[in-house]
């Protein structure tokens, strides 16, 4: 059954050729539907467009009343402010972007290394109480972050992991492992176990069979899964704001949120920082669009 965006494109409904077309008002209804879709698309996309527009507006136009939609002066100053500090050198925001890259990258790599073999084992072997284990794994992912962060905070305080990138990496890994296992189990299930059986008949051990024959076939799935894990860690906010505080450790989401702390808010800067922050996510999401349904349901829905 079709689930991906691409398939949604190709699989035409073929209903337009049925007698419904011949019915009275069929065309009028079709026009109405297109109009409705257009309006909905504009409403859904307007905030994104407005954000991009604000990021390139001069400050005077950002705060203009009534709002200026078209006749504003274009400037790239806000983007310059995102990266360059006021006294030269790097800004606190750009440091936070680098921290985000490190934290999201390392935690994704760790989650992949831990999760992919586990997913393979769950798919291939009869493990005791497999369903219960998988339920347990998924339910750790559904825990409310605000609740988990209380004992984690106390734990990290004992271990000296507060305001430490390692602390964030560990908790993000723990949140991405369940996702990786669920998502990858689906991909492993799609690779016939017979490949490994055949390789083992040829004298390879089970481990070699996994490494040499199954793993290469799983690579596209691993890439897609890693991209989703990367997006989750990149966007995460709750743990980041409670477990880190200094500029040198903070990731981008709390840093961007920190821009609205003062008495006056530089919305142009907020918009530019948001655009810079969101752009890689959108690019990555576009790359894995085929697996979006599985990705956003934590690998649960896939048919």
């Amino acid at each position: 059954m079709a689930v991906s965006v691409d398939e949604a494109v190709s699989a035409g409904p073929g209903r337009d050729h049925t007698p419904s077309r011949r019915r009275r008002g069929g065309r009028g209804r079709s026009v109405l539907e297109v109009a409705l879709l257009t309006v909905l698309a504009v409403v859904m996309l307007f905030p994104v467009l407005w954000m991009i527009e604000t990021s390139i507006k001069e400050n005077r136009d950002v705060y203009a009343i009534p709002a200026k939609f078209f006749d504003f002066k274009v400037t790239l100053d806000h983007f310059k402010d995102v990266f360059a500090g006021s006294g030269g050198g790097r800004s606190a925001l750009s440091v936070s972007f680098l921290n985000s890259v490190v934290v999201a990258g390392v935690s994704t790599a760790l989650a992949t290394v831990l999760g992919v073999p586990a997913a393979w084992a769950y798919s291939r072997f009869s493990v005791k109480a497999k369903k219960d284990q998988l339920f347990f794994i998924l339910s750790t992912r559904f825990m409310p972050p605000v609740v988990v962060v209380i004992p984690i905070f106390l734990m990290y305080r004992q271990l000296g992991l507060i305001d430490n990138k390692l602390g964030l990496i560990l908790i993000y890994t723990a949140f991405n492992v369940p996702f990786t296992i669920w998502m990858m189990k689906g991909f492993v299930d799609e690779v016939p176990a017979e490949y490994e059986d055949a390789a083992m008949l040829d004298g390879y051990t089970r481990l070699q069979a996994f490494w040499k024959f199954t793993l290469p076939l799983l690579l596209p799935g691993i890439a897609a899964t890693a991209v989703f894990a990367l997006i989750f860690s990149w966007n995460e906010f709750v743990f980041a704001i409670f477990l880190t505080s200094s500029d040198s450790v903070r990731t981008a989401p709390p840093a961007i949120a920190g821009l609205i702390g003062g008495t006056t808010i530089d919305w142009g800067l907020v918009a530019a920082a948001s655009v810079v922050f969101a752009l890689p996510v959108l690019v990555f999401a576009y790359l894995v669009r085929k697996h979006l349904v599985a990705g956003v349901t934590l690998g649960a829905v896939r048919r």
Partner: protein, 316 residues
């Protein structure tokens, strides 16, 4: 296998035929060992980072421990739990959460399904449309929260500006008791309608075409076809999406934190946000832990429900 053909076929075959019975037994043993070696690192991490903290929270929930006061924790048994379950404050937050979850999920389900239905009836441009509609979902709640805060700003927000040019009055979206919760619901709906749309679309495109063809031969009305073919076939998948969103909405924190910080007054304080206040502003760690454990129980029940429907869907 890209190696030269004769080598790979000859040699391993000889190895396998030389010792036929032995590999069977040792393979099964090593399989179990391999499964353990592959699964346990992941499980150990989850035990250390999820289970252990929750057990610690469970222990703290029976004490009067405070993270700032320090000192030893005294056992108070179920005092924290009774305090929370009988607190009028908590009841109010539970009601706010209920309104928020039901309102947001109902709104995004209706909208998301409608958009998916409209898109599924198009023959052209479905890929582009779907991709465009999906953008809000991929954004971080921080970006979404901040940006809507700017757009809903009473003074120079673009929403009020548009209302003004239509000749309508200005609305203090985020600073009025009545509208703040509504704004929260609207923003959450904006971000997550694409999620429902995506899954509904998956269900809609999976409906076999011959069913519609058969129905149109029988001259069934459009509404009849929708009610008897489309909805029953898409419903199970839609239900999964709805439950998923309900869990997510229940544990939502970041959007509230950024958009309203629970205000004005306590009108947008959800349970998640209240836990945060008790734990990090009131520093009643014991009470907050009990509060958190109760929330975890609700999430577990919802997750169980979600998985049950998921299994049902997979079995069909």
């Amino acid at each position: 296998m890209s190696e030269s053909a004769p080598l790979t076929i000859d040699q391993p075959g000889q190895v396998a035929s030389a010792t036929p019975p032995a590999p069977g037994r040792s393979r099964r043993l090593s399989d179990r060992w391999l499964a353990g070696a592959f699964i346990s690192p992941a499980l150990l991490l989850l035990l250390a980072m999820s289970v252990f903290p929750l057990l610690w929270a469970l222990y703290l929930s029976f004490t009067d421990y405070s993270a700032t006061r320090g000192g030893p924790a005294h056992f108070v048994w179920f005092e924290n739990y009774t305090a929370i379950l009988t607190s009028a404050q908590v009841h109010l937050r539970a009601l706010t959460t209920l309104i928020y979850v039901v309102g947001a999920v109902a709104l995004q389900t209706t909208l998301g399904f409608s958009i998916a239905y409209l898109i599924s009836r198009r023959t052209h441009g479905r890929g582009v449309l779907t991709t465009l509609f999906l953008v809000p979902m991929m954004l971080s709640p921080v970006v979404v929260g901040l940006f809507w805060r700017f757009m809903l700003d009473a003074q120079f927000g673009v929403i009020n500006s548009m209302l003004g040019s239509l000749g309508l009055g200005q609305v203090e979206w985020l600073t009025r008791q009545g509208t703040a919760l509504l704004s929260l619901i609207v923003v959450d709906t904006w971000q997550w309608t694409p999620f429902i749309m995506l899954i509904a679309l998956a269900g809609l495109t999976a409906v076999p075409k011959y069913l519609y063809e058969a129905a149109s031969i029988d001259r069934a009305s459009e509404w009849f076809r929708f009610r008897t073919i489309t909805l029953p076939l898409v419903w199970p998948l839609l239900l999964i999406a709805v439950l998923f969103r309900a869990i997510e909405a229940f544990r939502l924190f970041d959007l509230v934190y950024i958009l309203t910080s629970g205000g004005p007054g306590v009108s947008t304080e959800t349970l998640s946000f209240h836990v945060y206040k008790v734990a990090f502003l009131g520093f009643n760690t014991g009470t907050a832990s009990a509060y958190g454990i109760l929330m975890v129980l609700i999430v577990l029940v919802l997750t169980q429900l979600y998985l049950r429907y998921l299994n049902k869907l997979k079995e069909d």
